[in-house]
């Protein structure tokens, strides 16, 4: 049998298996203390909303932008990227998620309940001016 197969695999992390860095190296972990997470927002065309797409780890905003480009814009049509330190995000508590429940009889708040497309299409077909009677 091949000798390699008999070896105990310490880790599948190539830094440990190929670069022979000891796992759990404390110096490595301390280096990461300089890093923070940044939330990444991606815009696919000018004027469109930036949408949250994930995070990157970086020591500062400049490097976060570099990484965000490769992580989140490499395969997407992109006009612009924002990064925001995760620590700047304020969030509601999941334990308070009952504040988002809406009573079922308030469906009038839901725009899907307003059937106006027929009227809008009729308006467009006539090429009417806004002041015309519908």
């Amino acid at each position: 049998m091949d000798k390699k197969i008999n070896q105990t695999i310490e880790s599948i992390d190539p830094r440990i298996t190929r670069a022979k860095i000891q796992s759990g190296n404390k110096a490595d972990m301390e280096g990461l203390a300089h890093f923070q997470t940044f939330e990444v927002f991606h815009q696919n065309k000018r004027g469109a909303q930036h949408k949250h797409v994930g995070i990157v780890h970086a020591p500062n905003p400049d490097m976060a932008l570099l990484y965000a480009k490769e992580q989140y814009a490499r395969r997407e049509v992109t006009a612009n990227i924002w990064v925001v330190p995760s620590s700047c995000i304020s969030a509601t508590e999941y334990s308070d998620d009952d504040i988002f429940t809406t009573a079922p009889e308030k469906l009038y708040r839901n725009p899907a309940n307003y059937k106006v497309m027929d009227r809008i299409n009729a308006f467009k077909e006539r090429g009417s001016k806004p002041t015309d009677k519908v």
């Binding site: 190539p14 830094r15 190929r18 670069a19 280096g31 990461l32 890093f35 990157v56 780890h57 970086a58 020591p59 500062n60 400049d62 490097m63 570099l66 990484y67 480009k69 490769e70 992580q71 490499r74």
Partner: protein, 252 residues
């Protein structure tokens, strides 16, 4: 040497530089200092290999063998890449310094080629200009970060810069028929390019707290453009062509 031969020489050295540094930098894949950097550096290495393929395709249109044959069947002595790009990846500071010095030269080369009178080359230069611009942003951000970092990062970067410098000057080894390329507005020539490069990188190096080696130590390391390489290129080629050598028709 006629203008077609001069053009081929320009295409070969530009493409070979990109293929070899692309392969070298891909050796960091899986070993990068953090995940995000690993992905970014690997992606840029891929960009360079992809760019070289487009330049090899231009050579193919000029009657040379197809891109795979040109990339995978030549010996070290048939490559026109500079010695700089074949040097081993070293530690990360060296790879970053090479990334900075080489990519700014590449950026300025492509910037000038966008206006080349040889239209197919101008189109390729335009197509990849954005990719290479990002590469220079990445390189300069790292240079600033580590040059102005702590004592350890600064001294590693300075040592690597000192070591890399004369190799980097070797990028601008004069070609045999540059006058033809310049007269026909195909390329501005290596000496012009070197001047532009120094104008751009000198202030960036200064801003990062690093110093260029003093002028009297500038001794460009030439030879690569004429197929004279260090002992590092042939093993790289053997690794790069391993799959192709087993099965030239393999698709991956």
């Amino acid at each position: 040497m006629n203008s077609i031969d001069a053009l081929k020489e320009l295409l070969y050295k530009t493409a070979d530089d990109q293929l070899i540094i692309g392969h070298r930098n891909s050796e960091w894949t899986g070993l990068g200092p953090i995940l995000e950097e690993d992905i970014a550096f690997s992606s840029m290495a891929q960009d360079k290999v992809g760019q070289s393929e487009h330049l090899y395709n231009l050579l193919h249109q000029l009657g040379e063998a197809d891109a795979d044959t040109v990339a995978f069947t030549r010996n070290a002595s048939q490559f026109h890449s500079s010695k700089f790009v074949e040097l081993p990846i070293g530690d990360y500071s060296f790879s970053l310094i090479r990334h900075f010095l080489f990519d700014f030269a590449e950026y300025l080369r492509f910037e000038s080629l966008r206006g080349s009178a040889y239209e197919p080359l101008a189109q390729v230069a335009n197509k990849f200009f954005g990719e290479i611009k990002y590469h220079t942003m990445h390189a300069n951000t790292w240079l600033d970060q580590l040059g102005n970092g702590n004592e350890e990062s600064h001294s590693k970067m300075q040592d690597s810069l000192n070591y890399a410098w004369n190799y980097a000057l070797g990028i601008f080894e004069p070609g045999p028929a540059e006058k033809i390329l310049i007269d026909e507005n195909i390329f501005i020539g290596e000496e012009n390019l070197r001047k532009r490069w120094l104008d751009v990188i000198a202030p960036l190096i200064q801003n990062s707290g690093l110093s260029l080696p003093s002028n009297d130590e500038w001794k460009p390391i030439y030879g690569g453009r004429n197929g004279r390489h260090t002992e590092h290129l042939q093993p790289l080629l053997e690794e790069m062509t391993e799959v192709y050598s087993i099965d030239p028709s393999a698709d991956w």
